[in-house]
């Protein structure tokens, strides 16, 4: 077993366990914490795939950003209600069946796919390559993303401010 194999199994276990906990725990706040764990584990996957830049972005935006916003929303809403929100699930059996069917379906497609290609040697510096792609061929897409972020900010502000 190489270090990479060990790392993969550790990260995969953490990721799957915390993902399951996200959808199963009755406590909403705990669910968010598990999500944070799952997101950090995903960052670990990126590290295993030798993408330190995406590792950092994942931590910064997802674990630092998304989790913070969600926690903030939970705190705010619970304070408005004045009680702890228990979260319940419904149609658990049906949901499990559908999710399992989707998984089996995906795996069915994967089995037939030619995926045996070995991992090519890592390029030296993907960070620079990403940067060049962002301001090169994907420059217009990046600009569009900028508009999208501004619009999302505008929309979030519109809802969050109270005028009445």
């Amino acid at each position: 077993m190489t270090l990479e194999t060990v790392g993969f199994w550790v990260v995969a276990t953490v990721l799957l366990a915390s993902s399951l906990a996200v959808v199963l725990t009755p406590n909403l706040f705990h669910a968010v914490l598990y999500l944070a764990a799952a997101l950090v584990a995903t960052a670990g996957v990126f590290l295993l795939l030798e993408q330190p830049f995406l590792f950092a972005v994942q931590l910064l935006l997802y674990a630092g950003g998304v989790v913070t916003i969600v926690v903030f929303a939970i705190m705010l809403t619970e304070r408005l209600v004045g009680e702890r929100i228990a979260q319940t699930s419904r149609h658990v059996v049906n949901g499990a069946i559908v999710a399992a069917a989707v998984f089996v379906g995906i795996v069915g497609f994967l089995i037939g796919a030619p995926l045996g290609a070995p991992r090519p040697a890592g390029t030296v510096d993907t960070t620079a390559a990403i940067g060049r792609a962002l301001v090169g061929p994907f420059a217009v897409t990046l600009e569009l993303l900028g508009v999208l972020l501004v619009v999302a900010l505008l929309g979030a502000l519109y809802f969050a401010r109270s005028e009445e």
Binding site: F29, A36, F53, F55, A56, L60, A63, V67, M75
Partner: protein
């Protein structure tokens, strides 16, 4: 000796970590002494006479032996884990800081980004503590913290990116190397402004006075850690100071030329430490000189002043770099 590289890294990390813990302990003593001087007091004196040299050790021992209290109504699991989750990123940020050329755990090529990313995780531990305590003050403090950290993350990142742009690299050692001729703090106009913004954002991101509304003793007792005692309290305290120290190191690296200085290369770490302590002392100086400001003022400063200003600064830096042409310093 032929150890695998991973083992070397582990040993290196172990040494850095322990040196760090000692350093953090003594930084608290430094702060107390410094504060005392500002107020014409003496500060810690008796333990380790004449100047309280053993005070941090005594403090640590005291905290370790204190009773560990867990509030009955707390979310036990979250409450107990919070100090560790809080401390971990605060220590991890040191992983990419080189203390001299080739002296550090890992000099990643995304060093600065790694620092910013990992330190953004600190908040998770913070609101775990605030939430888990099931205490009104703690929760309020955690909410304020979220507010403040969301607001000041961006200016902090933008300010830190100015040296990155000037150096053309996110690698810490490359940034220092680029300051060979001129420290970035001395870089005309953009350097000083960025350093100033960096300092202000640091104060806010570290929840230091005048931005310490989340632990505001007079309103929230001690903020999110109000319920913590004993070793857990010590861990949180350790985390805070480690983070503060880490940010000081980052500031010294980004703006003050890191280990560059007169004298032989072996003096590098000394220079570096001196500069970092200097930044730390500036922050402490602000802490003991200013009053706390209101929540809305804090947010207004960030969104209406600091954020646009740092963004404009970043743009200006981009222009400077573009006009200077690639490669030159």
């Amino acid at each position: 000796m032929t150890l695998p590289p991973a083992a070397w890294h582990a040993i290196e990390a172990f040494i850095v970590l322990n040196a760090l813990l000692v350093l953090v302990a003594y930084v608290t003593l430094l702060e107390r002494k410094f504060a005392a001087r500002m107020q014409s007091r003496i500060g810690p004196y008796y333990v380790g006479r004449p100047h309280g040299w053993l005070q941090p050790i005594a403090d640590a021992l005291k905290l370790m032996m204190k009773e560990d209290i867990v509030p009955t109504a707390s979310d036990r699991w979250v409450y107990n884990l919070a100090p560790i989750v809080f401390l971990l990123p605060c220590l991890l940020i040191f992983a990419t800081i080189p203390f001299a050329p080739d002296l550090g755990v890992a000099d990643l090529n995304i060093g600065v980004l790694f620092f910013l990313a990992v330190s953004s995780l600190e908040i998770v531990g913070l609101f775990m503590g605030g939430w888990g305590s099931n205490n009104k003050y703690a929760l309020l403090s955690a909410m304020r913290a979220v507010n403040q950290i969301i607001s000041y993350d961006l200016p902090f990142i933008f300010a830190a990116l100015v040296p990155v742009l000037l150096a053309g690299s996110m690698q810490m050692s490359a940034i220092v190397a680029a300051q060979q001729g001129l420290w970035f703090v001395a870089y005309p106009v953009v350097g000083q402004l960025a350093f100033l913004a960096f300092l202000v954002a640091t104060l806010a991101a570290e929840n230091r006075v005048p931005f310490d509304i989340l632990e505001a003793e007079s309103e929230l007792v001690a903020g999110f850690r109000v319920e913590y005692s004993g070793m857990k309290f010590a861990l949180i305290q350790l985390g805070e100071y480690a983070h503060m120290l880490g940010t000081s190191f980052l500031g010294a690296l980004l703006f003050l030329g890191g280990w560059l200085g007169p004298g032989p290369a072996a003096l590098g770490p000394v220079w570096f430490l001196t500069k970092a302590i200097l930044i730390f002392l500036v922050v402490t100086w602000v802490r003991w000189s200013f009053v706390r400001i209101r929540v809305d003022q804090i947010l207004a400063i960030s969104w209406k002043l600091l954020l646009p200003a740092t963004l404009a600064l970043l743009l200006a830096t981009g222009l400077v770099v573009a006009m200077r042409g690639p490669g030159g310093a």
